[in-house]
């Protein structure tokens, strides 16, 4: 772990600072506004651009928020795994655990007016955008209380008020959409950018020069890029901040987030045929994004082991409570099968077998 100890003397033990996590608030023993300077795990590698510095400032508050939020994401995905196995989640389910630092670091660098669009591995991106556990689990289980009213399922989480344009089912299909979002931002002369997430790459558009994307590798020759340790939330934060500035000034940039997915591709992939169990446990031991933050917190005496364990316990409790609540949410009304196919009230008809008696005007 690369860590600049020089900053630790700046730490002053203090009273009730609190986490601004989307989860919960609790007091910590350190002044949350103290600046701590740390170094990213590895240097950035730039392509057609000068990479940003490895050194980044943070605060105890931010460290605690990162830890809390990532612990929650991790717990949510593990719970989703068992819900799927007990057949409470149907459809397809792609889990994010191991990659939490990407969502967390990205959110720390941008605002909710910057757009995000992603593929099907969207649960934690939704949470990072400010979505709730209850909305997530309700959607996963196809309940009315879900963020897409139970009609989307695992791959189709959306949050319009936080400019999250959702989970998309078809690999790569979201990339041109992201170009469109970015172009709209540019056309409106907004100071915002679009982050298009494709598998583990984040393709940040400038406020949008349109590029025709066929394969990311072919684009990669011309578009500047940055290789980032996607297991280090601070490296991701630094890179996303850099990318946003770059995009606003110069144009699109590709961030290659070197990250690691602990689960298989989807629930039907055990994730162990193309890699060894040793490889997975090695990554867990050496590169885990949550462990990295835990070590930073302990090294700076921001919280002790027990407090961090308590946070994880609390995450587990909140997840369990959200699941219980989500299970209470009813399944969508049967008439919802016919809603949202077209704009409401346009009189489009749906037909049954005989095309005469059995017909309904779509609501």
């Amino acid at each position: 772990m690369a860590l600049a100890r020089r900053s630790s003397n700046l730490l002053k033990p203090l009273s009730t600072a609190s986490s601004s996590s989307f989860l919960h608030r609790r007091p910590f023993s350190t002044d949350d506004s103290t600046t701590i300077t740390i170094e990213t795990s590895v240097p950035f590698t730039g392509h057609n651009c000068e990479p940003p510095s490895r050194s980044i400032d943070t605060t105890p508050k931010e460290l605690m928020t990162f830890f809390t939020d990532m612990a929650l994401m991790r717990r949510m995905e593990i719970a989703a795994d068992s819900l799927y196995k007990s057949k409470l989640i149907r459809g397809f389910c792609h889990l994010y655990d191991g990659q939490e630092a990407v969502s967390i670091g990205m959110e720390a660098a941008i605002t909710k007016k910057d757009c995000i669009i992603t593929a099907y591995r969207d649960h934690c991106i939704f949470l990072g955008r400010g979505g709730t556990l209850l909305e997530s689990f309700a959607e996963l289980m196809g309940r009315q209380g879900g963020c897409s009213r139970g009609k989307g399922g695992s791959m189709h989480f959306y949050k319009k008020d936080a400019c999250f344009f959702g989970g998309h089912g078809i690999v790569g299909a979201q990339v041109p959409l992201g170009c469109g979002l970015a172009f709209a931002q540019k056309y409106r002369k907004e100071d915002h950018v679009t982050f298009t997430i494709i598998i583990t790459m984040v393709w940040v558009q400038l406020n949008g020069e349109l590029q025709r994307v066929l394969l990311i590798t072919s684009v990669g020759i011309y578009v500047p890029g940055l290789k980032v340790d996607g297991m280090d939330a601070f490296a991701v934060k630094q890179a996303c901040k850099f990318a946003k500035e770059h995009a606003l000034k110069n144009g699109p940039i590709i961030l290659e987030m070197d990250t690691y997915r602990y689960h298989g591709h989807s629930m039907s992939d055990p994730g162990s045929t193309y890699r060894t169990r040793d490889e997975i446990s090695g990554v867990r031991q050496e590169r885990d994004p949550i462990e990295r933050i835990r070590k930073l917190i302990l090294a700076h005496d921001i919280a002790n082991e027990k407090e961090l364990k308590d946070i994880e316990k609390l995450a587990r409790k909140e997840v369990d409570e959200a699941i219980a609540k989500a299970k209470e949410s009813p399944m969508p009304d049967e008439t919802e099968l016919f809603t949202n196919v077209y704009r409401k009230g346009y009189g489009v008809e749906s037909f049954g077998a005989d095309r005469k008696e059995l017909r309904a005007t779509l609501p």
Partner: protein
Amino acid sequence: MATNLRRFKRFGSVFINNSSPLRGLSSSSAVLGSVDGQVQQPGTGTGKSINLYTAINQALQIALDSDPRSYIFGEDVGFGGVFRCTTGLADQFGKHRVFNTPLCEQGIVGFGIGLAAMGNRAIAEIQFADYIFPAFDQIVNEAAKFRYRSGNEFNCGGLTIRTPYGAVGHGGHYHSQSPEAFFCHVPGLKVVIPRSPKEAKGLLLSSIREPNPVVFFEPKWLYRLAVEEVPEGDYMLPLSEAEVIREGSDITLVGWGAQLAIMEQACVDAEKEGISCELIDLRTLIPWDKETVEASVRKTGRLLISHEAPVTGGFGAEISASIVERCFLRLEAPVARVCGLDTPFPLVFEPFYMPNKNKILDAIKDTVNY
């Protein structure tokens, strides 16, 4: 196609001993094949009981073995594919004949067209039929028209696109669709859908050796579920020949693929109420066997079509229109269609969306009592 009536008699009793509806749909008109397309009747009782994906695997193995110019490619096929249809083939035939492609359906089909245009048998896999749409341009504008627009100088007849289609009970929006009707609107293509392991093996070998591009939809619900005896050797089943898989006198039911198992159940239930149903597996959707369907409707006077795809613009509409043209004066009731609803394929609402047994049974009764 004129052999249909003969087939009724010859194979009419094949289902008597089968209680399971999936097994009950076993193929009855298999013919032995050879590389040059000569077809013969297979011997009986030579096969082992295998499931549908194993039957597909056997067909692919035979295709690679019998023609050194055949290739299999697609997403993950090198590892055996997500449904295990290509298991072991890369090991047996080498990575230059069975290989993975990038995640780019347009590229997969385009590559297949080029490969086929050089006189090879290109067997492309699109991982799910829901993913075939990026390749739609290549299939419709390149593959289907290559022969026509070059005045027969070029063609990609060696191209076969395999793709799993249909519901599985919990597939959601993008792993459940049945897009066959889109491809039935494209002259120059053939569209084939098998209903069982034995059918799948014979029809796939015919499709691969067919001198026209074929889109071959595999019912993914049946990959593991459908088990029947399949001849071990090389055999082919004729394309564009429908098969009467259950004889009856009151109403004709037409379907294809996984839906036939559901229709069979409805036929059994209808029989208990004294309605005799004739069930036809269309097998090839274009060019389809109008004669067999027409002959049956002339006998029964009633027609019901069922498919999983949405009812509006589905291939059932084409069958209905054609049969009304041919049998207008013989029809005793309007043609019934029991199909998917006109909504996107739903997630939690799949049971409502599906044309299930009871919907079909109701439509059978309504049509017979019209």
